[in-house]
């Protein structure tokens, strides 16, 4: 173990969010003065994060002995942020960091994908307006995300939670000149805020029950039965509501496909690898408590299952590359929640890690395609493997990983989830999940075939296409490597080799550490279903666009249903229009009609005395307002009379 870990280790976890914050401040204030608008600062920040993460991992290994981790010391108290001691209670919000295996998985994903995305963006965003501002917001996002996963206090976590939301809002709306981007940004912000209300209520409930914001204190109190079961269930469901919003689970998933309006590298980082798994992180962090409230766990399980299936089916028909990937992200997040719902925290976190790599790879690959052709509808692409060999090769690797073909990363983690599900939940869940895996393979194959194979369908776009610059292909290659090999960390031997004592199984299986044993029966079932999916996809879409169009004619109703995403967006818009604005309308109408016209005109009409004067009536305001006051006096005094 290197000596340097004495100076930098888990005690210094606060460095993680601090470095990108500094980068953010410098870039946003001085980007006009800096060469290249300061993009290198963002990259330096990311490198620093990667370095510190490595030190933290090394330090963390030091807590591994007797075949188990003892990470209690990892909770670092920093300072009292708010300290309010009143007569009958102490209100204390500390700033503290807490590192355990779950945080480390997140740290690895954030630091590696963050660095790749930052490098990639220098090529992708080259020459665009607000180039520097993009890197500033990217740094802000990473800072908030790191704070989220290292914070030991719910309050700071909530702050970071809102912070990533803000950064996401800014990045989705980066091309705010486009009306659709502006609308998507607003949609994402408001939809996730709905979940955030739940999170806030959950935090308040937990604080009320335990008097603390410290996550470990709360977990200890909740698992020792200090909190009533119903109360705890409500609180944990409220927390899950926050996760549903942030991780785009049904019914709050509608924002994520629209979020693809943002720059593609940002989508890769935020809407594939990191921010959207914040919900998974939150539930995983509180997993000991969910062990106690099984009702909440079932809610998580079935929400995840429903989401996984619905999103995969929507992915079958979407025509925009990035939207297919967005649906696939929602679906994969559903897989993770299913794993959490059966209590397999380790499987969920393992899938977070592999998914981060291969999904980021796919997004960056699609960015490379879009960058080269200026097109993102698969109907207009095709045959690009000749023009963009590196992109095509890495994209295919990512797709194999997503489809769950053996030896690629996704296979191992998906297999883990299926395995966990088969032993904890009903066969129905297992069958639906396996079916979803099949769907995944189908739409992945479709995407690859339509993009890279067959004949080009838009000649001019094809002719202009070219391989992307090395700043973009290098991250693709690195991520391609990771998407291939990161699954092997599940084996003890490989883990040991790279310094993960006991393999990743030990790292993420916090409460029930176990070694990975491949169950050949399951593995072969999973492999067969994935391969079947690939074959179906191949048979169906190989050879060009006519077949793709046939998909529409096979069952137009079903196709329309899927293309319109089960009409959920319309439903929500309708609800917003009718209910929220309608309520506002009712109150405004009440002011206008009841108070002004009924109080004045209608009241008169009703009594029938001044009715004939109606046409002379203006909306007489002062007597009207006074009527409000008088009615208030009457109602209140009658109320107290009734009480007395």
């Amino acid at each position: 173990m290197p000596d340097i870990s004495v100076t930098i280790g888990m005690q210094q976890a606060w460095l993680l969010p601090a470095m990108p914050v500094v980068a953010f401040l410098i870039i946003s204030f001085f980007r006009k003065l800096l060469p290249r608008e300061g993009d290198f600062l963002a990259i330096i920040g990311m490198l620093g994060i990667l370095l510190v993460t490595l030190f933290i991992i090394v330090d963390f290994q030091g807590f591994f002995h007797d075949g188990e981790f003892h990470p209690g010391e990892a909770n670092v108290y920093a300072f009292d942020w708010v300290r309010i001691s009143a007569d009958n209670f102490l209100f204390l919000i500390e700033f503290s960091t807490y590192i355990d295996a779950i945080s480390i998985v997140m740290l690895i994903a954030i630091s590696i994908v963050g660095l790749m995305v930052a490098i990639y963006s220098t090529g992708y965003m080259q020459g665009e307006d607000r180039y520097g501002w993009y890197f500033a917001v990217l740094s802000l996002f990473v800072a908030a995300m790191l704070l989220l996963v290292t914070s030991g206090s719910l309050v700071w976590m909530y702050l970071a939670w809102e912070g990533v939301g803000l950064a996401s809002y800014l990045l989705i709306g980066h091309y705010w000149e486009r009306q659709s981007a502006a609308e998507a940004a607003k949609k994402a912000f408001i939809t996730t805020r709905v979940g955030d209300v739940g999170l806030l209520i959950g935090i308040i409930l937990l604080w009320k029950a335990t008097g603390s914001f410290d996550i470990q204190t709360i977990i200890a109190a909740a698992t020792s039965g200090q909190i009533g079961e119903t109360y705890l269930t409500v609180a944990m469901l409220a927390l899950f509501a926050g996760a549903v919003g942030k991780s785009a689970q049904f019914p709050l998933h509608v924002w994520l496909p629209d979020a693809m309006e943002g720059p593609t590298p940002a989508s890769a980082l935020i809407h594939a690898a990191t921010m959207v798994v914040a919900g998974v992180y939150l539930i995983a962090r509180f997993s000991p408590v969910y062990e106690v409230v099984l009702v909440a766990r079932d809610v998580i399980l079935y929400t995840g299952l429903l989401t996984a299936f619905l999103a995969a089916s929507m992915g079958l028909v979407a025509s925009d590359i990035k939207r297919v990937l967005a649906f696939s992200t929602i679906s994969q997040l559903g897989f993770m929640f299913v794993a959490l719902g059966v209590g397999a925290v380790g499987a969920a976190m393992f899938h977070v890690l592999t998914h981060a790599f291969f999904k980021a790879l796919l997004f960056l690959g699609s960015g490379s395609v879009i960058h080269a052709t200026g097109r993102q509808e698969v109907e207009y692409l095709g045959g690009l493997r000749h023009k963009q060999p590196i992109t095509a090769a890495t994209f295919i690797i990512g797709s194999l990983a997503l489809a769950g073909i053996p030896i690629f990363a996704g296979f191992w983690s998906k297999d883990e989830i299926l395995h966990a599900v088969s032993s904890y939940a009903s066969p129905f869940v297992y069958i639906v999940l396996a079916g979803t895996a099949l769907l995944t393979a189908i739409y992945t194959t479709r995407l690859v075939l339509l993009t890279f194979f067959g004949d080009p369908r838009d000649r001019s776009a094809f002719d202009h296409a070219h391989e992307s610059p090395s700043s973009m292909t290098l991250p693709l290659l690195l991520l391609g490597l990771l998407a291939t090999v990161s699954g092997f960390f599940v084996f003890d031997a490989v883990g040991n080799l790279f310094g993960f004592s006991g393999g990743i199984g030990y790292l993420v299986y916090l409460h029930h550490p176990h070694s990975f044993h491949i169950d050949w029966a399951f593995a072969s079932v999973a492999t067969v279903s994935s391969l079947t999916g690939v074959i179906i996809g191949w048979v169906y879409w190989h050879g060009g666009a006519e077949r793709a169009i046939k998909a529409r004619t096979w069952s137009p109703d079903l196709h329309a249903l899927l293309v319109n995403r089960y009409y959920l967006d319309e439903l929500y818009q309708g609800i917003i229009n009718r209910v929220v604005l309608g309520l506002a309308g009712i109150v405004a109408w009440f002011d206008k009609k009841i108070v002004n016209e009924t109080g004045v005109d209608g009241g008169a009409q009703f009594i029938g005395y001044f009715g004939y004067r109606l046409k002379f009536l203006q909306t007489g305001k002062i007597p009207n307002y006074a009527l409000g006051i008088a009615a208030g006096i009457l109602v209140l005094s009658v109320m107290v009379l009734a009480r007395a």
Binding site: V600, R613, L641
Partner: protein, 210 residues
């Protein structure tokens, strides 16, 4: 000579009409009350109270119901003087005096001037707002609720006492010196307000619409 004073022509009508009204309502009521006193049903102070209360309520009704603004204003004077009489019954000569001076002498005159300046017709009849019936219903309920709430309390059987004049002055100017200062400032604010608004109207505005 009377004609030279710029009073509206309706003043004589008011005096005659008011006299007839007071006579027509007041004399029978007076007779009833005197009879009641004579038979010992009510005491003499109660009779005075009832006379004053009737003046107050009739005046108030006139103030809120009469269609002619000037009549309403004069009706308000009747109420305020009736209230001053009640203050006398409550053994507070000083406040009765203040009431007559400030209200009867000042406020009502001010209001009348305001009326003249804003509605300088000979017969300024106003129409009431159309929420009047609604307001009537609401206020009847309100008065009913108020009285119920007030009378459900057990007020005991207290009697009124005279407050010595010099004690009143002493307390006012010793203990309540600060409120007097505040009220002085308040009056100053009010005067400033009246001034700036009238001033705005004459100087700052562009030409009037007519």
């Amino acid at each position: 000579m009377l004609k030279r004073i710029p009073l509206p022509a309706q003043f004589d009508r008011i005096i005659i009409g008011g006299g007839i009204t007071v006579g027509a309502i007041g004399v029978p009521l007076g007779i009833v009350l005197v009879t009641l006193v004579a038979f010992g049903v009510i005491s003499a102070p109660e009779m005075v109270f009832f006379v004053a209360a009737i003046i107050v309520i009739l005046g108030a009704l006139g103030c809120v119901l009469l269609p002619n603004i000037v009549h309403a204003a004069l009706s308000l004077t009747a109420t305020l003087i009736g209230v001053a009489a009640l203050y006398l019954l409550l053994m507070s000569e000083f406040l009765a005096l203040v009431q007559v001076l400030v209200y009867g002498g000042g406020v009502v005159l001010l209001l009348l001037f305001g009326l003249m300046m804003t509605n300088a017709q000979d017969d300024p009849v106003v129409t009431d707002g159309s929420q009047k019936p609604f307001a009537f219903l609401l206020v009847s309920l309100l008065i009913g609720t108020f009285i119920t709430l007030l009378l459900s309390g057990d007020w005991g059987n207290p009697t009124a006492h005279v407050v010595p004049f010099e004690l009143f002055g002493e307390r006012l100017f010793r203990e309540f010196a600060l409120p007097i200062i505040i009220v002085a400032v308040l009056l100053d604010v009010a005067i400033t307000g009246a001034l700036v608004n009238v001033h705005t109207a004459s100087n700052d505005l562009p030409e009037e619409s007519e």
